[in-house]
Symmetry: C2
Subunit: 354 residues, 2 copies
């Protein structure tokens, strides 16, 4: 039985010591569910290895506090160990420190000023179709209904608003095959890639301000391919580009933009995920910023906040872990930052609302 | 026992009907050796599946007449069949028609006006290190000593002089890896490929005249590679280029040229084979052209004539097969052209020399 009365640093260590590599979260999910079911003010639901616990106090606002239970594969960095202020181990920053903060809030605040939905989900570190949040938003979207969401991903204790979208496309060039000893009989598709790269080199990325936060786009080649054999003029080549776009564009607008940049070429969209607006202008978000403190910044990478955004729920990333340590063998989290995060969140959920 | 008294078309059919896919030439090599050993004016040597037969008449000049015994894999196109003037079957054009012409000459001309070295070799259609001509030129270069060589590869009965060289090089670009959501923290190695392709697009290929024949060079990308993952700015990319160069350049000069074109980039030479001068200004070659007739043209693809050139022996391609049918399922050869080729060669070896 997980002891939710211990301090948040010790609780983090306890959770870190329960291995939960993606796909193997069952024991940790069981442990979390058991601890939450022991709290009479919470209604607990379960879907696969995802646990959702809600207060039903009839508050005019509801907020989601979410974190994933899984980690990347262990790399000889378990069990956890403490050195000074630092807790070392797989998943400390990404993101069991955040999970511990959420569990502490669940236990410490039986009557929050806003109804709260705690979400602990599985398979965030792997392909999107196995992601527990994706599954629950499809099968039980009512469990996630809320006015605002906080995702406890590592942000070094800074509020990061929304996230940029991502879109990948193949820009394809075509030519005519020929023997390279008589190259003038063919048309070289790789040479045609030169114009694709010239457009990328000339591209000026936008830095738009959305809901008060400055984003920074990018349009980049992430792969290039072409070639039939060492003595053949190739008849096809392709550049995979990745467009990271600010949340003032929809996925459809982003696709349109890529098609315009590569006008005249064959453009095949291979995958994409929408951006999420930071939504910090919403009163519940403003209250969160005021309670937690600090200056919010834009989230540039794509995160699961976009899944909330897709449900119409403004969302931010805010967690005590260090994003630069995520997925590293030497991963650690600062015990001070974990405690500060707990205090900020407590403040938010207990300060009387207007 | 191969009957060398039958007409050259029937002899071609008989040889075609002895399967000899690369690596499996033993039976045909045995058959050819046996037929040649029955001719008292020839001295016969053997290395692996390569058969060399020479006259030793003390003539002031010696010429090589060479052909490979192997074919590409059979594609349901055996046994051979005749339709009108056309002999269909695997290896008819490439190059058993030429082999049959050489065998007829060996049998018909016991006292040629020049000493003759007949070479029937294996494994031409596969990797160079297994090529019988490569092996013999290394282990028994004295067998190949000559003033001039005729390779009976399919040329549609036209003399094709020398051959262009080929050189492959990787042009490598380097950058700095970064997450594609923060692309400005990295340097995109694929984008740097743009300049490599710009130079290729601006490149003007030479068409030099060498020993009276016009060659046509080419510098082309034959492969392009780059990419780490769909969300990573790649730190390395590469373009493989293939330079087909005229025989007025040595392999070293060709390499130097490629390095100059891509000055500022990392250039790694991956493989190369020298060009061969047509050597048509040599008296023995001029006599060949006069005897066989027609207007010689430059050979643009690389062929085994370069192996003779490397031994200091001028060499030409001249064979009755059709090069456009080589390696095709519907391969055939014209019986008329085979007979014409035999006559031209007979004329060359029997006309009194000055």
């Amino acid at each position: 039985m997980l002891d939710l009365t211990q301090d948040v640093g010790a609780l983090t260590a306890a959770i870190v010591d329960i291995e939960s590599v993606s796909g193997d979260e069952k024991f940790l999910a069981d442990t979390v569910e058991q601890a939450l079911r022991a709290l009479p003010h919470l209604t607990v639901d379960r879907s696969g290895e995802t646990v959702v616990a809600r207060t039903f106090l009839g508050r005019p606002e509801r907020v989601v506090i979410a974190g994933h239970l899984d980690t990347v594969p262990v790399a000889g960095n378990l069990p956890s160990r403490i050195e000074g202020d630092l807790l070392y181990g797989c998943g400390t920053s990404d993101m069991k420190a955040g999970v511990a903060v959420a569990l502490k809030l669940a236990a410490l605040v039986p009557e929050p000023n806003r109804d709260v939905t705690y979400v602990f989900y599985d398979c965030e570190e792997i392909e999107a179709e196995r992601n527990g949040l994706t599954r629950v938003s499809r099968d039980h979207s009512d469990w996630l209904a809320a006015d605002f969401a906080v995702l406890l991903e590592p942000t070094d204790g800074v509020i990061e608003g929304g996230c940029q979208g991502t879109l990948r496309a193949d820009i394809i060039t075509r030519g005519k095959r020929a023997h390279s000893a008589r190259s003038w009989l063919g048309v070289n598709a790789i040479h045609a890639v030169g114009e694709v790269l010239a457009r990328l080199n000339a591209y000026e990325a936008r830095r738009p301000v959305v809901d008060g936060l400055e984003y920074h786009e990018g349009l980049n080649a992430v792969a290039v391919r072409g070639g039939v054999a060492g003595n053949v003029i190739p008849d096809e080549a392709g550049v995979m580009v990745n467009y990271r776009f600010a949340p003032d564009l929809s996925l459809e607008q982003a696709e349109q933009h890529v098609r315009e940049v590569f006008d005249g070429f064959e453009v095949v969209i291979t995958d994409g995920a929408p951006a999420a607006r930071p939504g910090l202008t919403h009163p519940v978000a403003a209250a969160f910023v005021a309670a937690v403190g600090g200056i919010p910044r834009a989230k540039l990478g794509w995160t699961d906040v976009a899944r909330f955004s897709a449900l119409g729920i403004p969302a931010v990333n805010y967690g005590p872990g260090d994003p630069n340590l995520a997925h590293q063998q030497g991963e650690y989290a600062s015990l001070t930052k974990i405690a500060e995060s707990e205090l900020g969140m407590l403040n938010w959920l207990t300060t009387p609302t207007l």
